[in-house]
């Protein structure tokens, strides 16, 4: 049966062009035909399934070995997991047609019957048409310009010659999606109602509008309970269609359960109009005054021509796609993948959403399966698997520039030029398939394809989720900076068919000229057009949709803050146009090298606005006036100004210089028993990532920055852990004595007093300008000694814990810490936006009182991941920060590590081992492996715990999509109690502002200051509380706030036991048994007594 029906269908297609009004009764009804196709498809699908299985694993492997061989082959091509995931995805999004679509198909039947019964009308004048429809209260969706009252041509209605389902539904490449999908019911209007010259001056579109209104009227009057509206097909104002939505009343004809819309699309028969006259370089809209003159002298109306031709292509494309899907088995699946990929990135066939949707994807793919190569060969091979086809398609989109290098099918002449935007010209139809794409839409598509392609070629990680599962269409996450530009109320109507489009084109041209290489990509998002009711009296069509254009920019981080732009030299012929473009801003300047150039200079200081935003605002004001220019809203700068000093890395320069001085002085010390091998930094202040710039005002000491000194190896070190610590102190004492002689102030401090195996002392070095350092000595033998102790099986548990803690502390402080600092330093130079993004992210963690639980390094790694592992690194604080938050919100830390850079291939195995050894995640919750820390646990050892990690995820999720202001608002209501520290005992570094009066600011560092160096009262207090109350209370801190949560397992009462680790109240429980409840009041009393005058206030919420 299958081949027969196929034959029949192609036959039908061939005769499409001719009038076949009388034979409609003989035709297979569309439903029956669909049924036939679907059966065929099922069969095809099964065989394909079987074949694909056969390819992977032979059905009856003669031996285990053969099977293994087959598997090993499959591993050679990329990752097998990715392929399996793809299959899963496809099975998830495929629609079960028979079950789900039955109600919709019933409806299609009904609509078809209604349309077939509409009586014909011939040769009605415009007056007659409007009168008739006015009486029936049906709005005729005439496109602008509306037909005048004096037009001579007549309108007619005749039954459609042919009706069928087209589009993705007919092809069965519909995917489940959020907003449902649409079934296209295409009606072929008979060519008898048109005349040869109707392609001119909107006549075709006016007749088409009347035809549509007649159908709308008939459906409306049929008494079916449906919601009807007119919508511009793909935002093309010339081509309205009817959208039928279900009533939702649960009646027999209600098709809500199918979750779809029905679109009624009128089509023109092929060859109604001469294709050659509608070529993109011809004119079809004559000025009113001159009448039908030769079109050579008039500007081409490419968009208009394409809109007419596009109406003739529905069935042609359907046949083409059907044929190709039989030839290339994976075609449909590749379409589904493409559809998902496009949808997640916000692309669709609508002009305002890029103009490249599923339809364009499949048509382009079908063309590329047949040709498109440089020597007439095909770009895609028919034997490709769905994944290969998808990837090859992306490869094509990413590498071929269709604007500079159009793709032509079936035409010889080079004359088929498309004014702006990409061109894929199908000579058979005379149509540029991508005619709906704007230049910016195309650039964005190409950019996205490039990004995805890079992800797909990552040898280590699959990136399946980023490619298909994550929704990535929010402009805040896509672009580095955004500008909302209002659309003028009265757009110039003479400027083209689509005034909004020509306005945006002009805007695009101006911005891309003005921003030069500061922006890598500019994209404009236009507001989408709204539906209109089919009853008159709805929205006035004459007005352009008001609203705003969202301009998104991908910046070039190295160039975007350049203050001066150079133009042509004085007297050069380009000078005039340069001056015309820049207006008053352009001035002649003489530069150091002696050249005199036209140039534009921007303000860098005393301005909250970044330079690129100044340029955008200036250009918009200059070209579109104050009314628009002054209302441009910029998004992005507020993120940068939230970071102290606007995120300028230069703020860290004094600290870095001081560090270099320290290194020099240490190296030049004479009289040390051993030579210094290495001095390395290990502090956030020395890797551009502390929240506040370390030396922000004179007269204040910075928080001491950690420095690690390593000596040349020597056999004279003692071979005992405690003795090593004492030797270190002796070294420090000697160093401090020598430094003191050189003029620095030094102190020796003790740490880990109760843990003899940990590092016990450090030396603080203070310079007079305020920089302070904390020097520790690294001795590589310690690690070996600690590890050897752990090998001892008789070690008591407590001692073992202590040694384990000492080992991880040693690794963090002396081995991984310095490496991490070095890496962050390096990356900050490579990515200018990294340092401010990290600092903003730390601020976010601080705002939400999480900085105690989340180590600084962990925050840094999270931000670095955004910069290193994505193929399009952020170039502004906003994108760096928001994309990291987005990542945090999506990171399933239970199931996967966040891998940074090129780590070992067995990173996932290491991770699996970590989880196996600790399935409850009591030790390592978040795991971030890097090159210098392959296990990825060094910085997450001390937190966050599981509860806190879950809270981080929840906070990040609520921050995604929130406004800038809301992201940084945190409430302490959720905590059980909140302790406020007296501000004067706060850390000096966090104080937001110095003295109110400039002359009162102290500029000298006194010895009292030095005596208090490193004193952190709130920190010491919380650490003590944490030791005393252990797991009973979880503390969250930031600045002068300490918030606490009672551990839920402590709050519920328990039976008597001696070692309950918290204060209790005895109570008589239900069964006369004693129950011990947590004594919250006494604990808070104890806390208050311990804190004494340090505490300002205690709020008890629960």
């Amino acid at each position: 049966m299958a081949p027969a029906s196929k034959k029949r269908r192609t036959e039908t297609r061939e005769e499409d062009g001719r009038v076949r009004t009388k034979e409609t009764t003989d035709q297979l009804s569309s439903e029956e035909e669909m049924e036939a196709i679907s059966k065929e498809d099922d069969a095809g699908g099964q065989t394909f399934e079987a074949k694909s299985k056969a390819r992977k694993i032979p059905k009856h492997p003669s031996s285990e070995q053969e099977k293994a061989q087959a598997v090993s082959e499959s591993y050679e091509s990329k990752s097998n997991v990715f392929r399996m995931e793809t299959e899963e995805l496809l099975s998830e999004i495929r629609v079960d047609y028979r079950k789900r679509m039955a109600p919709a198909e019933k409806m299609l039947h009904k609509l078809k019957n209604i349309i077939e019964k509409i009586p014909p009308k011939t040769d009605v004048t415009i007056g007659g048409v409007e009168g008739e429809m006015g009486k029936r209260k049906i709005h005729i969706p005439f496109p602008e310009p509306r037909p005048g009252a004096d037009i001579k041509y007549k309108f007619s209605y005749e039954k459609p010659t042919y009706m069928n389902i087209a589009g993705s539904y007919a092809l069965k490449t519909v995917a489940k999606q959020h907003g449902g999908f649409a079934i296209d019911l295409v009606l072929q209007m008979p060519s008898t109602i048109f005349q040869e010259k109707d392609y001119l001056n909107y006549r075709y579109f006016h007749k088409r509008a009347y035809y549509l209104a007649t159908i709308a009227g008939a459906i409306q009057e049929s008494g079916l309970n449906l919601q009807l509206s007119y919508v511009d097909l793909h935002d093309d104002p010339l081509r309205p269609i009817i959208v039928v939505a279900p009533s939702g009343d649960g009646s027999e004809i209600d098709f809500t359960t199918s979750k779809c819309l029905i679109r009624i699309v009128p089509a023109a028969p092929k060859n109604t109009f001469s294709v050659s006259k509608l070529r993109p370089d011809r004119n079809a809209v004559r000025p009113v005054a001159e009448g039908d003159t030769a079109d050579g002298s008039l500007p081409p109306t490419s968009q208009y021509n394409s809109s007419i031709l596009a109406d003739t292509t529905y069935f042609g494309h359907l046949t083409q796609l059907h044929e190709i899907s039989f030839e290339a088995k994976a075609f449909k699946d590749a379409c589904l993948l493409g559809r998902t990929w496009l949808k997640q990135r916000g692309f669709s066939s609508n002009i305002n959403q890029g103009g490249f949707g599923h339809a364009e994807w499949s048509i382009l793919m079908s063309l590329l399966l047949k040709g498109g190569g440089s020597k007439g060969n095909s770009v895609l091979a028919k034997g490709y698997s769905n994944y290969q086809m998808f990837k090859a398609m992306l490869q094509f989109l990413a590498t071929r520039d269709l604007i500079m290098n159009p793709l032509l099918f079936g035409v010889e002449s080079e004359s088929v030029r498309w004014p702006k935007g990409p061109n894929v010209f199908d000579g058979k139809l005379g149509l540029n398939i991508l005619f709906k794409m704007t230049e910016w839409g195309y650039r964005l598509l190409k950019h996205e394809a490039e990004i995805t392609l890079k992800l797909l070629s990552d040898p280590v990680i699959g990136h399946f989720e980023e490619v298909f599962l994550h929704r990535l269409d929010d402009p805040c996450y896509k672009f580095d900076t955004l500008a909302y530009i209002p659309i003028p109320e009265n757009l110039n109507k003479d400027s083209g068919l689509n005034p909004l489009l020509s306005f945006s084109q002009k805007l695009y041209d101006i911005l891309s000229t003005g921003l030069t290489d500061r922006a890598k990509l500019i994209h404009l998002t236009l507001p989408s057009t709204s539906a209109q009711p089919i009853r008159p009296g709805g929205i006035n069509r004459g007005l352009a949709p008001t609203g705003q254009i969202i301009a998104g920019f991908l910046l070039n981080a190295a160039q975007c803050s350049r203050a001066v732009d150079h133009g042509p030299p004085a007297g050069h012929k380009g000078g005039a146009s340069y001056r015309a473009f820049w207006g008053d801003k352009a001035e002649l300047r003489r530069f150091k090298d002696g050249s005199i150039l036209e140039s534009v200079v921007w303000v860098t200081k005393d301005s909250n606005q970044s330079i690129y935003n100044q340029i955008i605002q200036y250009l918009v004001i200059k070209n579109f006036g104050d009314k628009i220019g002054n209302y441009v809203k910029f998004i992005g700068d507020e993120y940068a100004s939230m970071v102290g000093g606007g995120g300028n890395v230069g703020l860290f320069q004094p600290t870095m210089t001081a560090f270099e001085k320290l290194v020099k002085e240490l190296r030049s010390l004479e009289g040390l028993p051993l030579a210094i091998r290495q001095v390395s930094a290990a502090a956030s202040a020395l890797r551009y990532s502390s929240v506040e710039a370390p030396l922000f005002s004179s007269g204040q000491l910075m928080q001491p920055a950690d420095v690690v000194v390593q000596f040349e190896s020597s056999g004279r070190w003692p071979d005992d852990l405690v003795a090593i610590q004492k030797t270190k102190i002796a070294f420090l004492l000697k160093m401090s004595e020598l430094l003191q002689q050189a003029g620095a102030v030094t102190r020796i401090g003790l740490e880990n007093v109760d843990y003899p195996t940990m590092n016990s002392a450090f030396m603080e070095v203070v310079y007079h300008e305020g920089s302070t350092f904390r020097v520790r000595i690294y001795h590589d033998r310690e690690q070996t000694l600690l590890e050897r102790q752990l090998l001892n099986k008789d070690l008591p548990g407590k001692k073992r814990d202590e040694i384990t803690a000492a080992l991880s502390e040693h690794r963090r402080k002396f081995i991984v810490g310095p490496l991490h600092t070095q890496e962050v330093q390096k990356l900050s130079h490579r990515f200018p936006a990294l340092s401010p993004s990290i600092r903003l992210l730390k601020k976010w963690f601080q705002t939400h009182l999480l900085s105690r639980q989340v180590s600084e390094e962990l925050v840094e790694l999270m931000a670095i991941r955004t910069f290193v592992t994505t193929s399009s690194p952020p170039n502004s604080v906003m994108s760096g920060f928001l994309r990291t938050l987005h990542f945090i919100s999506l990171w399933d830390w239970r199931a996967e590590p966040a891998i940074i850079g090129t780590v070992d291939k067995n990173a996932s195995e290491t991770f699996a081992a970590i989880r196996r050894s600790d399935p409850a995640m009591n030790r390592h919750v978040m795991v971030i492996p890097t090159e210098y820390d392959p296990t990825g646990t060094t910085f997450t050892e001390s937190g966050p715990r599981k509860v806190v990690a879950a809270r981080i995820t929840a906070l990040a999720r609520s921050a995604v999509g929130a406004s800038f202001k809301n992201i940084f608002i945190s409430s302490t209501k959720d905590y059980d109690f909140v302790i406020h520290i007296e501000p004067k005992y706060n850390l000096p570094g966090i104080r937001s502002k110095g003295s109110k009066f400039k002359n009162l600011q102290k500029t000298e560092i006194t010895s009292q200051d030095i005596a208090k160096l490193g004193l952190n009262v709130p920190g010491a207090f919380v650490n003590e509380l944490n030791d005393i109350y252990g797991d009973t209370i979880i503390f969250f801190t930031a600045g002068n706030i300490i918030a606490g949560l009672w551990n839920p397992s402590s709050v519920s009462g328990r039976k008597w036991k001696v070692n309950i680790p918290y204060s209790t109240i005895p109570q008589v429980g239900v069964n006369d048994e004693e129950v011990l409840m947590l004594n919250k009041k006494s604990i808070l009393n104890e806390i208050s007594r311990l804190g004494g005058e340090i505490l300002a206030r205690i709020e008890i919420n629960k």
């Binding site: 995917a175 003692p718 007093v753 050897r788 814990d801 199931a895 999720r957 252990g1030 009393n1085 311990l1090």
Partner: protein, 308 residues
């Protein structure tokens, strides 16, 4: 409902924590019973076991407490060991003789806190001068806890009645400032302590080496000489020996020499791949169960996805 006077074996002793500048007074409960450790000691009859001591308890506090309720004289108090100046985490709890606060631990290094704190819920052993005093204390505690039932007994306030002569270091800011100063000792002091330690360490080391050398030279009663580390050559380091051994083992292996080796290796590689394939399949299935393949199309959908 009034709290019970007795819970198995223990008498509750409610005490009032005085109000502070920020929070009102609170009632704290001590649980007491005669001390009965697994290994009996002669001091047991006059010792009292106290559970849930307040975090700022000192011997002076407990002494004052028991004298105010009318118990006998306290000889000394032994608190549950707290390893650090604050409190240590740890499995087995040791007893820590804490007669005088701020006492230096044996050779534990520097003292950086002027007053030790107890972990929340920890215990102490209070040793009275004799058994009679202890029993009086238990009786008195029972009276205090029954006060709700008619009899008038004065409230017992924590920290009241401590003799003025005792100088208990204050909490609050002075505690932290003192700690800060103690963690930055003078260099001379530090130098001295390092010198002492190093001298002792070197002496120990020398003695140990001497003993070893002696054992190397003197045959034992069976006439054998024990082989021990040290001697003329420096002892070989374990790690170095291991590396040498590994190198040797690697050299001894002849991989890919015989055909059967090649075949076997290939086979094992294939088996590994097969295993990996199965594992991957399992993983994908797991993720499917987590509904990970739902294309996320909005916040709502996403939330549902992760089952949150």
């Amino acid at each position: 409902m009034p709290p019970p006077v007795q819970i198995p074996d223990y008498t509750t002793l409610p005490i009032t924590l005085p109000p502070t500048a920020l929070v009102e007074a609170a009632t704290h409960y001590l649980y007491i019973r005669p001390h009965a450790p697994k290994q009996a000691t002669p001091d047991d009859p006059r010792s009292l076991f106290v559970v849930n001591v307040p975090i700022d308890a000192t011997s002076a506090h407990l002494r004052a407490l028991f004298s105010s309720i009318g118990g006998g004289r306290v000889d000394r108090v032994i608190f549950e060991s707290s390893g650090s100046g604050a409190a240590a985490t740890g499995g087995k709890r040791k007893r820590d003789d804490d007669e005088e606060d701020g006492e230096e631990g044996e050779g534990k290094g520097e003292v950086v806190w002027d007053r030790k704190l107890r972990k929340s819920g920890s215990s102490a052993v209070v040793m009275f001068v004799d058994k009679a005093s202890r029993d009086a204390a238990i009786r008195a505690a029972g009276k205090v806890s029954k006060k709700g039932k008619g009899k008038k007994v004065e409230e017992v306030v924590w920290g009241e009645g401590i003799g003025g002569g005792l100088n208990i270091p204050a909490l609050g800011i002075s505690r932290y400032l003192t700690n800060h100063n103690l963690t930055h000792p003078s260099k001379a002091h530090l130098q001295a302590s390092v010198n002492t330690f190093m001298a002792a360490f070197e002496a120990d080391e020398a003695a140990r080496l001497h003993a070893l050398a002696k054992r190397r030279q003197e045959p034992d009663e069976d006439g054998f000489v024990t082989v021990v580390r040290g001697g003329r050559v420096a002892p070989a380091r374990q790690e170095e020996a291991k590396v040498v051994l590994e190198k040797k083992q690697a050299k001894d292996k002849h991989e890919g020499f015989y055909r059967f080796q090649v075949r076997e290796e290939r086979k094992s590689r294939q088996m590994e791949l097969l295993k990996k394939f199965e594992e991957d399949k399992k993983r994908v299935a797991e993720r499917k169960n987590l509904r990970r393949f739902k294309v996320s199309l909005g916040i709502l959908c996403f939330v549902q996805l992760h089952g949150m």
